[in-house]
């Protein structure tokens, strides 16, 4: 899309301008240094940035943005690069504005249950640094040891405990942003709720870095629950496990987490660095956690065990101590990476369905797996119907990347068909932009791009993301990916 420049030993005019603003130590422009910025956690599509600038403060961001506007050069904000849809991936020739060096915890106001962080602050660090005071930050993506809160805001990230506590947007109280005009804005000043005016906080959260660059975030923090219990339930039939999920919700309990893994996923996690010793011949397990006031916990877990038993559970156990609980969670949270132990490559999908349609959707995913002759593991947030089919493939085998991508797309079509969504937490990015058509009409997407235009009129901030280019259908996308994959190998 943008003309690729050959990296030179000397900084070009753009890199020189960046060096003037941020200093030499904060700018990368040599080709070998730029390679690791070719893509994020979604590796099927790549593009070379022109340079990377590590901003140190809001003023840097504003100055860089103004400078790039003047030069007409496109740019992308980037956090840890763990995104799974290509949100931080260049189309070619953009400047990457990396926020990872803006990583301080700025304020902690326990009285108002608020913390103010810089965008490069790592998600898990927040919980770690307030846990001694009995507090934590609820959104817990499995990548929380690496991903930044700025990236979480951009993607409106979720996690295992979002069933009860909500996703990122439910925990953001204020943002400082640099707009594509270079202006700095404070939205949701001091964390005061319901600011008069349209809800820009809500609009910016989940906008995948296309409306502004977040430079400061006020988040809501929570007090640790008094009690917590975690159960692991093994099922011989995946339909029984699905039914148990619905029945648990029907008892009137909202578990803190309700996760499911199927047979292939279990094979993967057991082969990984965090095995639990799950039986290898089961069809699925549920990992269920309840938390809250201690006095109510035992009754809740008893009700859950009863539901599991009435759904023919083979075995169900409650974690005996924190060590056992942590082991179960590590096994679950490392689930994506664990697929590396049983397959050279994997593609993570992220569809959402109404919870009650789980059995039929799983059946259709099995059919897709057969059709494309690729194994598909399922790890998902069953409680809120957020599926992560993991399509296992080998990029070295000609045609497999393409088949994987098609199978992924078809899984999303199934989700759309049952009234669901093409993404629950990983975002659209480059990867799913064509699939936006599965759920939105052109007119509806235009209503959204019209809003983008208000913030980002020249489309210099993260261009070519989220929305399909006119006329670009899923088929065209697959052909492009095929070429991209071929050029990688």
């Amino acid at each position: 899309m943008f003309r690729k420049k050959q990296a030179k030993q000397k900084p070009d005019a753009v890199a020189s301008a960046l060096i003037t603003i941020a200093g030499k130590e904060n700018v990368l422009y040599l080709k070998e240094d730029l390679l690791s910025y070719e893509c994020d956690g979604y590796t099927l599509e790549r593009g070379m940035p022109r340079a990377v600038v590590f901003v140190r403060n809001t003023q840097h961001v504003a100055d860089v943005v103004k400078q790039l506007n003047a030069l007409g050069v496109p740019y992308i904000a980037r956090g840890a690069g763990t995104g799974l849809s290509g949100g931080a991936t260049p189309r070619g020739g953009e400047i990457i504005i990396s926020l990872v060096r803006m990583k301080r915890l700025l304020e902690l106001d326990l009285e108002n249950r608020q913390a103010v962080v810089e965008p490069g602050y790592i998600n898990l660090k927040l919980t770690q640094s307030i846990s001694d005071k009995g507090y934590y930050y609820a959104p817990d993506p499995s990548s929380q040891y690496a991903c930044t809160i700025g990236g979480n805001v951009a993607e409106n990230s979720g996690g295992a405990h979002c069933l009860k506590y909500g996703v990122t947007t439910n925990h953001i109280l204020g943002l400082e942003v640099v707009l594509p005009s270079g202006e700095m804005m404070e939205i949701g000043k001091s964390g005061v709720p319901d600011q008069p005016g349209y809800d820009l906080l809500g609009l910016l959260t989940g906008s995948e870095g296309t409306l502004g660059i977040v430079t400061k975030i006020t988040v809501n923090i929570l007090k640790n629950p008094e009690g917590k219990k975690t159960a692991l339930a093994y099922f011989d039939d995946i339909d029984d496990a699905s039914q148990a999920v619905s029945d648990i919700i029907a008892t009137g309990i909202i578990p803190a987490a309700l996760e499911m893994m199927d047979e292939i996923a279990i094979e993967g996690v057991e082969a990984s660095a965090y095995p639990v010793g799950h039986p290898r011949d089961i069809a699925a397990f549920l990992l269920i956690e309840v938390d809250g006031i201690q006095a109510g916990i035992d009754d809740q877990i008893d009700d859950i065990l009863t539901v599991c038993k009435s759904n023919h559970v083979r075995d169900v156990k409650v974690a005996q101590d924190e060590a056992e609980r942590s082991m179960w969670w590590a096994n679950r949270k490392m689930g994506f990476g664990a697929m590396g132990a049983i397959s050279p490559d994997y593609l993570v999908q992220d569809g959402v369905i109404p919870r009650t349609r789980l059995p039929e959707v799983l059946t259709r995913i099995t059919e897709i797996s057969r059709k494309y002759e690729l194994r598909i593991a399922n790890i998902f947030h069953a409680g809120d119907g957020n599926l992560h089919p993991l399509i296992l493939f080998d990029a070295r085998v000609p045609g497999e990347s393409d088949r994987a991508s098609k199978a992924g797309s078809e899984c999303l079509q199934v989700c759309a068909d049952v009234g669901g969504s093409i993404t629950g937490e990983h975002g659209v990015g480059i990867e799913k932009s064509a699939e936006m058509r599965f759920i939105f009409s052109d007119e509806e997407m235009r209503a959204q791009t019209d809003i983008r235009h208000v913030f980002n009129p020249d489309d210099l901030l993260n261009p070519g993301k989220l929305f399909p280019e006119p006329g670009r259908c899923v088929e065209v996308k697959h052909n492009e990916k095929k070429e991209a994959a071929a050029s990688i190998n």
Binding site: L200, E226, G424, M445, V454
Partner: protein, 437 residues
């Protein structure tokens, strides 16, 4: 194709001439009742072609909330566009038309043991469309959140008649921009909400309510108790401060009162009430209500303040309502300041505010000029601490002087840009919102 007369757009029996001169304004020279989404779309398309302004109303409880135009060309009534479209019990989701009242929704959901966790006042009058458009909420938002946490999808009729879906029907969804958020609290200035999909909860298994009264001069103690609970592992659904005047009406005690509510398994509620008792300082009194009493108490609580239909035209006094937003920790002090200013400005005041969520409500009675002077004084005090004051109910004539929304935010140009994008001719609820949008 342009349509020449409104009669060609909706059946004649859905069109009425306006009532004259409503004291709350926000009327229309012609009242058109929509019975379907198609009606809404046709009326808007007609208005857009003929450049006619349109006010939007359902239950009318917020008729006194903003608006400096006495009437628009058309008043589009959604009161008859009501009913539940789909209640998916297993998915805990509900799709509903905008004219449905909150009470109708709650009654229907209760049959399946579920609820919509929104508790604004006047549930039998307030419609879900109005609640969402005005982002109204109640004290239980402390635990359950507000409309922005519960709305997962909408259908919006744009001013040119396009019907645009935002969000979806699933509880987790990040496909595209979170467009739902734009319409929540936009006071109908960006489009007409023709359908709303919401996340539900199971009905709480048990509800506990304690009223804790603080003796005169005990405001600091009250602040400390609220902080102590918030810093504990207890999980109150509300921690609402009542000023003595409203407390007298609702509890019989003319004292600062903290309303502490828990909703959980019975054992968990009892345990938390016990915890609270053990942590109260000396000199305060706690009344624990039975479940039945608690439900009656909340019912009374939710019938306070103006509702768009209870202004007395013959009274010498005027009634008004304000919404304050502040840091949660500033709520007790703000209410105290409001009480003092009420004395200075000779208005009578009843107020309550969430010590854990930061939204306070102030109900006033007095002469118009006193209410305006009071509002200005309170606004400057609250703004000093980064808060804001909005007038959620005022007679039409008083709105310009009271300045309903206060100062424009620094990013006002973005708000204008969004308005310009969705409604370039500024036809929908003109001048109803921040900065005259």
């Amino acid at each position: 194709m342009t349509t020449s007369t409104i009669e060609a757009v909706v059946p004649g029996e859905q069109i009425k001439e306006s009532e004259t001169d409503h004291p709350l304004g926000n009327g229309g020279r012609q009242i058109i009742q929509a019975h379907s989404e198609e009606d809404i779309s046709n009326v808007l398309q007609y208005a857009n072609e003929h450049v006619l302004t349109v006010n939007i109303m359902s239950g009318g409880t917020k008729r006194g909330y903003g608006g400096t135009m006495k009437e628009a060309d058309i008043l589009l009534s959604l009161a008859n566009y009501k009913g539940i479209v789909e209640h998916s019990v297993g998915d805990l989701t509900l799709t509903v038309r905008p004219g449905t009242t909150l009470k109708e929704i709650s009654d229907q959901l209760a049959e399946s043991g579920q609820c919509l966790a929104l508790d604004p006042p006047w549930p039998e009058l307030a419609t879900i469309g109005g609640i969402v458009a005005a982002n109204d909420s109640g004290c239980k938002r402390l635990l359950y959140g507000s409309a922005r946490d519960l709305v997962i999808g909408t259908r919006i009729v744009y001013v040119d008649g396009r019907v645009i879906r935002t969000g979806g029907k699933v509880v987790k969804n990040v496909a595209g921009y979170d467009m739902n958020k734009l319409f929540i609290g936009a006071m109908g200035t960006l489009g007409v909400i023709s359908e709303i999909t919401l996340k539900l909860r199971p009905l709480p298994k048990y509800e506990g309510l304690s009223l804790v009264h603080f003796p005169d001069g005990g405001e600091q103690k009250m602040h400390d108790v609220a902080r102590c609970i918030l810093d504990s592992m207890m999980e109150p659904v509300s921690l609402e401060v009542l000023t003595p005047s409203i407390s007298e009406k609702l509890t019989g005690e003319r004292l600062y009162t903290l309303v502490i509510a828990f909703e959980d398994q019975e054992k968990a509620v009892i345990q938390q009430e016990k915890w609270v008792t053990e942590h109260l300082p000396s000199g305060v009194t706690q009344t624990i209500l039975s479940e039945q009493e608690a439900s009656e108490w909340w019912d009374a609580f939710r019938h306070q303040g103006p509702n768009g239909h209870n202004d007395d035209p013959d009274a010498t006094d005027t009634q008004a309502a304000l919404k304050l937003g502040s840091l949660p920790s500033d709520v007790p002090a703000n209410l105290k300041i409001a009480e003092e200013l009420a004395g200075v400005h000779h208005v009578s005041l009843e107020a309550h505010g969430g010590a854990g969520h930061g939204i306070s409500r102030v109900y006033l009675n007095g002469f118009p000029e006193d209410i305006i002077a009071f509002t200005k004084a309170l606004r400057s005090a609250v703004e000093n601490k980064h808060g804001y004051v909005i007038c959620t109910h005022l007679p039409f004539e008083m709105r310009p002087a009271a300045d309903v929304w206060g100062e424009k935010p620094a990013y006002f140009s973005l708000l204008e840009g969004i308005k310009q994008t969705n409604d370039p001719k500024k036809l929908l609820n003109r001048q109803r919102f921040v900065g005259g949008i």
